[in-house]
């Protein structure tokens, strides 16, 4: 099925061409002439990046061939319709149950000696074996995952517009979160209400972890049946996806009046987040941001809580996937202007248990631009009720 590219706007097509050019540069560096992006059911970001359409099916692929054509392979009629409507793919092929012959037939036409496969490492065993068999001995298969991660790291103006729009619904989602908090409410109903408000605002998807309680809380997870109590610190990481782009807010809110420990905890996390933000500019590394955040904890006597026993990352990049290159010490990825990331020094301390605070930003030449307008403060239902 051939797609009418006139359906896509001029700016869309310019964005598509920009991406193809970036990928081609990456392919050249690898000595490859074509890219096959694999979309596992839980890692569709490369496919999304190439076709600009939401994919719901179990399996998807996009082939960028040496003629700069994008051919999408999808497993559902609904995916076909969305990919066609987006107008980025030159052709959309419906994969047939029980067979991937259509895919392999196209791959056999690919010239050149190297095929880069985005998410080669996630290809199911049977499929990977068949791919090698089909391409050997003419074409070597190489991993294109790093190439795609690198291409996606720097956002264009077109992408930043979408990140800003996602930021607006993220702000609204947090507002809804605070509105619904009240003693006696079970955790999972908070998620249900916030999720509904995000979807009503146009979110395609949302990832949301939370935790409620006191200083015994060690991390955030999916919600349970625990009911909120006065003085609970309710933490969440809200991560809506709008028009393909994920953004995130990390905040904590108190049911009722904050305790002194919760206030002290917030002060610590605000200082650490700001320290991370203060070093952001074009050319900063993920390591340097993490170091700046961790230095605050060390200075205040909480350095041990920056280890992997207590925290996972000190932030991460965002884009068509919600958890891109991590902000951790040892990650020396250089962030270009246009990179989008969240700086969040989330971890446990004895002050008030697990605490979360973070804002998404985009890197600029001399600093950063915040992508949210939500205040950086310790929220409380008492204050909201005033």
């Amino acid at each position: 099925m051939t797609v009418d590219l006139q359906d896509a706007t001029a700016s869309d097509l310019a964005e598509r061409d920009l991406r193809i050019s970036r990928i081609e540069a990456g392919l050249e560096a690898l000595g490859a002439t074509a890219l096959l992006a694999y979309g596992a059911a839980w890692r569709r970001e490369n496919v999304r990046y190439l076709v600009n359409a939401q994919i719901a099916g179990d399996v998807s692929f996009v082939l960028l061939d040496e003629r700069r054509s994008l051919i999408a392979f999808v497993s559902r009629t609904s995916d076909m319709q969305r990919v066609r409507a987006a107008g980025w793919a030159d052709e959309v092929v419906r994969l047939t149950p029980g067979s991937l012959e259509e895919l392999f037939a196209r791959l056999r036409d690919v010239g050149g000696r190297k095929l880069a496969v985005g998410y080669l490492e996630l290809l199911p065993d049977g499929l990977a074996a068949r791919l090698r068999e089909e391409m050997a001995p003419r074409t070597e298969i190489v991993n294109g995952s790093a190439l795609m991660a690198n291409v996606r790291l720097k956002k264009s103006a077109w992408e930043l517009d979408r990140h800003r729009a996602a930021g607006r619904i993220c702000d609204a989602g947090w507002q809804r979160f605070v509105e619904v908090l009240e003693p006696g409410l079970p955790e999972y109903l908070i998620t249900a209400e916030v999720e509904a408000s995000l979807k009503a605002a146009g979110a395609e998807d949302n990832f949301m972890l939370m935790a409620s309680g006191g200083d015994e809380v060690r991390g955030m997870v999916p919600p349970g049946e625990r009911r909120l109590q006065n003085h609970d610190l309710v933490r969440t990481e809200l991560t809506p996806q709008l028009d393909g782009y994920w953004t995130q807010i990390c905040r904590s809110a108190v049911v009722g009046e904050p305790t002194d420990g919760q206030k002290a905890s917030f002060d610590l996390f605000r200082e650490a987040m700001q320290a991370g933000l203060d070093v952001v500019r074009e050319g900063v590394t993920c390591h340097e941001i993490a170091r700046a955040e961790n230095a605050v904890f060390e200075r205040r006597g909480f350095g041990e809580y920056c280890s992997s026993a207590w925290t996972r990352v000190r932030g991460h990049n965002l884009g068509t996937y919600l958890d891109e290159s991590p902000i951790i010490e040892g990650n020396h990825t250089v962030l270009p202007a246009g990179a989008v990331l969240i700086v969040h020094p989330n971890t446990y301390t004895p002050l008030a248990g697990y605490h979360v605070l973070g804002d998404p930003i985009t890197v600029t030449e001399s600093g950063y631009e915040r992508l949210l307008t939500t205040e950086v403060k310790l929220f409380s239902t008492k204050e909201a009720a005033r």
Binding site: A40, A41, W42, A56, G57, D58, V59, S75, R76, T77, S78, Q81, R82, L95, T96, P97, G98, S99, L100, L120, E121, L122, L123, P124, D125, G126, L127, A128, A129, Y188, L189, T191, A192, E193, E195, A196, K199, A200, D205, N206, F207, M208, L209, R218, G219, V221, P222, P223, G224, E225, S308, A309, W310, T311, R312, Y348
Partner: protein, 333 residues
């Protein structure tokens, strides 16, 4: 990413039921002479792991290592700080957090044991290679060790499926938008809700534990035709019937015959979730299956689907949402 209610294992089933499930798998392993069975799951497909343990792989990946005797261990890329919660909601005591799954699995299974990869075709090839290299010997392959056991829900599971189906039916009837359906399902305690909404067709899947129901509704100009086709197709649904056989039955009806016309009707019968590309197989007595109909005239497509519990002499719609059945479900609760 799963973000709905995760209930504790013992709030869903008594320990005896979790032990029964494990015993059944371990007996199957014993009969094959296996010391360990390794079960892979990621956030998009981890129902085997959930069935045995109530572990919710809400994000990322992990492997459940099931020994021939004793309790399973879970090796995951999820960070260590969430393992306390996983322990609290599951029936597993031993967890390992590591980015190097293969290496840690090798430590768990030790030397000189017979190890099987369950459903190897679904494992990421790189993880399978890494695990094989780390274990340092050839691994056996066993398909459907757990999925075959859970394919036919036990009586209490069937009751839960009916309740879940009734929730989905009620949500459809009481809501004007897919978002409202989702809200109703999340309020009802579903751990996951998947919505595929496009061009007048809405396909919703709802999960509780390892159990799923799914239905699709259409508002396109071909919706009534698709609905009629689904109703007729469902009349022929019973054990040992295949999708192509149902399609042939539809083809005998003039209104649904597509030869010589622009209308195309596609019938699909398969697993409730994860079956986009699965090969057509006969419906199994006692199992839950998704029957779906796509009607297309080349420009418009209508898609309707429901989840059915298959019996020898027919099939019970779990998501049809008739008022009588929904009322009956409500009375049961």
């Amino acid at each position: 990413m799963k973000r709905g209610l995760v209930k504790a294992a013992l709030d869903i089933y008594p320990m005896a039921e979790w032990s029964r499930r494990l015993d059944e798998v371990q007996q199957a392993m014993d009969s094959r002479g296996l010391d360990w069975a390794l079960v892979y799951g990621d956030v998009s497909a981890s129902d085997d792991i959930s069935y045995l343990t109530n572990i919710c792989v809400y994000w990322n990946e992990g492997v459940l290592a099931v020994p021939r005797t004793g309790k399973p261990e879970f090796v995951t890329k999820l960070s260590a700080r969430v393992l306390t919660w996983m322990k609290r909601v599951s029936v597993v005591d031993s967890f390992h957090s590591t980015p190097q799954l293969g290496k840690r699995l090798a430590d768990v299974v030790g030397t000189d044991s017979r190890v099987a990869i369950v459903d190897a075709g679904r494992w990421p090839a790189s993880l399978l290679e890494d695990t094989t290299a780390s274990v340092g010997r050839e691994l056996e392959r066993v398909d459907q060790l757990i999925s075959s056991l859970r394919a036919t829900p036990a009586e209490d599971e069937a009751a839960r499926l009916r309740s879940l189906g009734a929730e989905l039916g009620r949500a459809w009837e009481a809501s004007d938008t897919p978002g409202e359906v989702e809200l109703a399902l999340r309020r009802a305690g579903c751990v996951d809700v998947l919505i595929d909404d496009d061009a007048g067709n809405t396909d919703i899947s709802a999960q509780f534990g390892h159990l799923w129901v799914r239905s699709a509704r259409s508002t396109t100009s071909l919706a009534q035709l698709a609905k009629d086709a689904l109703a007729l197709a469902a009349e022929g649904l019973r054990a040992d019937v295949t999708g192509p056989q149902i399609a042939a039955r539809l083809d005998e009806v003039p209104a649904f015959r597509h030869s010589g016309q622009d209308l195309r009707i596609h019938v699909s019968l398969g697993p409730v979730v994860g079956g986009d590309l699965s090969v057509a197989q006969a419906a199994q007595a006692g199992s839950a299956s998704l029957l779906s109909i796509d009607v297309s005239d080349g420009t418009t497509t209508a898609r309707v689907a429901d989840t059915y519990l298959i019996a020898d002499d027919g099939a019970e719609s779990l998501t049809g949402g008739s008022d009588e059945r929904v009322a009956a479900m409500g009375a049961q609760q």
